[in-house]
């Protein structure tokens, strides 16, 4: 029998790590991630989870210790947010380039200064090119589910994966989360046995100096693994859906079947957008939502598919690449360039630093996209 608990997004992450049977956890507290590590500490202390929790002195060491554990062949997990993630940056490269399937929850929080503890996506998107898989969740249930999905995919392609949840909107919000039987989870996610590990009987040197003669080939293999990961995400999410009855996919489509225009967005704002879509539908508007769950590897095929079926795309970014545009906006446009179907794509930057995204904001953005100049970066709700 599965159980349903009313828990926060943070605790959904902790339960996800517990039920994925993480073996080594190394983490450092940061608002708004702290409850993840607090609950995991309790799980480790009371034996609910047979894992070693290393209480490190920084996020940099957290990732380093996870890498060490992964090198030993263990399933490693950590969680962080914003500045903690930024401090990890060097080791994020190390984890990916070293082919360690570490899984991490990142609570999306705006970067300082000024200090902000509220949500936006610049922290995780700044780690775009480190080689990590990135999954953006829209509900606590998805946070829980995606933990095991991420472990499964990552361990098959030997790459690390980051699941992302919005600060407070998910991290501190209580929602019902269904947790399946451990037996079923164990079947879905069997123990990790990496093909290469630190082994006295089969000694290797990991990460040794590599001359220009071979470095590029190792990077090629990572790109290849990302391409494989895209296939695996589709497969694993399908298997997850068949086993547990919940379906996500790299790009979740909501009321897109006959849609003439589509909103593209990632994170918890996507769920608010579903309500907004319902309201606009009632008013006769043929609009849908394409929620970007998977950011790396980028679901180009899914993006092109939906582009081929609509006349207009509206991208809402809770982030900005300074000096250019919203990051999802850019990625989506790049995905469509030189393809057959390139409907106009409007990009809005909204909700930075935790500014609330209401139904009215979504409908307002859609309305503004009717008249605005497509060549401008469209800031939504800026008071200047």
């Amino acid at each position: 029998m599965s159980t349903v608990k009313v828990i926060t997004g943070n605790h959904a992450a902790s339960f996800g790590a517990r039920d994925s049977r993480a073996e080594v956890i190394a983490a450092y507290p940061i608002t708004p991630q702290t409850q993840i590590v607090e609950l995991l500490s309790e799980f480790c202390a009371d034996g609910t989870l047979k894992a070693k929790f290393i209480k490190v002195e920084s996020e940099h060491s957290a990732m380093a210790a996870c890498i060490g554990a992964s090198a030993a062949g263990a399933r490693a997990y950590t969680a962080t947010s914003a500045h903690g993630l930024a401090l990890m940056h060097e080791m994020l490269h190390w984890a990916a380039n070293g082919r360690h399937p570490v899984v991490m929850a990142n609570v999306n929080r705006a970067m300082g200064p000024p200090w902000s503890i509220w949500t936006d996506q610049n922290d995780s998107l700044a780690q775009r090119d480190t080689g990590w898989l990135q999954f953006y969740c829209e509900s606590n249930q998805e946070v829980y589910d995606t933990t095991m999905i991420a472990f499964k995919v990552c361990e098959q392609v030997l790459l690390p994966g980051m699941l992302v949840l919005d600060a407070f909107i998910l991290s501190h919000t209580y929602e019902p989360v269904e947790m399946p039987d451990q037996e079923l989870i164990d079947e879905f996610l069997p123990p990790f046995d990496p093909p290469y590990k630190m082994d006295l009987k089969d000694p290797h040197a990991f990460g040794a100096l590599t001359t220009p003669e071979w470095y590029m080939e190792l990077r090629y293999l990572i790109q290849e693994a990302h391409e494989k990961a895209l296939v695996k995400v589709r497969e694993v999410e399908k298997e997850f859906g068949e086993t547990f009855g919940r379906h996500y996919g790299p790009l979740e489509l909501y009321r897109c079947d006959d849609a003439e225009e589509v909103i593209l967005i990632a994170g918890s704002t996507a769920s608010t957008t579903k309500d907004a879509v319902d309201i606009m539908r009632k008013e006769g508007r043929k609009i849908g939502l394409a929620r970007i769950k998977l950011f790396r590897p980028f679901p180009n095929k899914e993006i092109r598919d939906i582009a081929s079926r609509v006349n207009k795309m509206i991208v809402i970014d809770r982030n900005i690449s300074f000096g250019n545009q919203g990051i999802f906006f850019n990625e989506i446009k790049a995905s469509l360039y030189q393809t057959k179907h390139t409907p106009p794509v409007y990009g809005f930057v909204a909700g930075l630093g935790g500014r609330d995204m209401k139904i009215d904001d979504i409908t307002g953005i859609v309305k503004q996209a009717e008249t605005c100049n497509i060549e401008e970066i469209l800031w939504w709700g800026v008071k200047l």
Binding site: K50, A64, H204, W214
Partner: protein, 302 residues
């Protein structure tokens, strides 16, 4: 061979080699010899974690390896953290190995000190060896906080040599109340091997501060690889001692009062020093030695 001769000839350093010949270290490299000795002492059940340092090069480029043991190469400041994770990963899988973190002075005294301090505070079950060649030698001789007062490096030119004393890493590590802290040099192989063998049997964080000659950076003749650290000990510049569960014991108390000048004058990095500056070093060395003698007398300190 008489009985007493046999006793004298008894080899205390294991004959087994775990390091392949032909490594790409400089002539007279103390760091390379230190690893050779360490692996002999610790034996084949050892895994090595190496952050950025000379050993990132000495260990050999992909796809080669200088060691018969598994090596994990990691980022500069992460030796202690990766070693902690590695040990935890082995433990949870019920696998056993001695985890050896092997870092230079830059990776220990400077950029890695935060992760090392944290690992020691947690009393992680690892052996951490800092082979100290007293500057960033791998990047071409830049000063570190292990560089002694008065020394030339490329970032402390002769017109303005290092004007701060060497950081006392032994005391910093002892302050963490870990079970074992020891100094050693490549000029005292038996002593180093004995200490490693002892450390291997202890659980918790064990820290070694090993003076490793660097002819390239010290501007000294390569053939003095063994001799220079011995002089460092005889002149009390680098005392050999252990701190075992809070008890200090000095392993070598030189009977002769050899002036530090004897140690300094054979190294080009100290060539510019005036007599007055050498006297300053002598005074500092004497003070530090006296303090160490006092600590030894006090018995258990933590």
């Amino acid at each position: 061979m008489s009985k007493s001769e046999k006793k004298m000839m008894r080899a205390t350093i294991p004959e087994e080699e775990y390091m392949f010949p032909g490594t790409v270290d400089c002539q007279g490299c103390g760091a390379a010899y230190a690893m050779r000795l360490a692996l002999k002492a610790l034996g084949p059940q050892t895994m090595v974690v190496i952050p950025a340092c000379c050993w990132s090069i000495i260990a050999g480029p992909f796809p080669t390896s200088a060691l018969k043991m598994p090596i994990y190469h990691t980022a500069f400041e992460t030796a202690a953290a990766v070693a902690s994770g590695l040990k935890a990963g082995l433990n949870i899988r019920e696998r056993d190995a001695t985890v050896l973190a092997w870092a230079g002075d830059g990776g220990t005294f400077d950029i890695g000190v935060q992760a090392l301090s944290a690992a020691a505070e947690r009393d992680e079950d690892i052996i951490y060896v800092c082979y100290d060649n007293e500057a960033y030698m791998n990047t071409g001789i830049q000063r570190s906080s292990a560089t002694p007062w008065g020394a030339w490096t490329t970032t402390t030119p002769r017109k303005h040599p290092k004007d701060r004393p060497k950081k006392n890493m032994m005391e910093i590590m002892a302050a963490h109340k870990i079970p074992y802290v020891a100094s050693a040099t490549v000029g005292h192989p038996e002593d180093f091997v004995r200490k490693l063998k002892k450390a291997k049997e202890i659980r918790g964080t064990r820290f070694f501060h090993v003076l490793a000659t660097c002819p390239t950076g010290w501007r000294s003749p390569p053939e003095l690889m063994l001799e220079l650290p011995r002089l460092a000990v005889e002149t009390r510049v680098f005392p050999l001692y252990e701190i075992e569960n809070g008890v200090y014991s000095i392993n070598r108390k030189p009977k002769q009062n050899i002036p530090v000048a004897e140690y300094l004058k054979v190294q080009g990095r100290f060539r510019h020093l005036t007599d007055q500056q050498i006297q300053y070093i002598q005074d500092h060395v004497d003070e530090t030695w006296e303090l160490l003698l006092k600590k030894e007398k006090l018995g258990r300190l933590f």
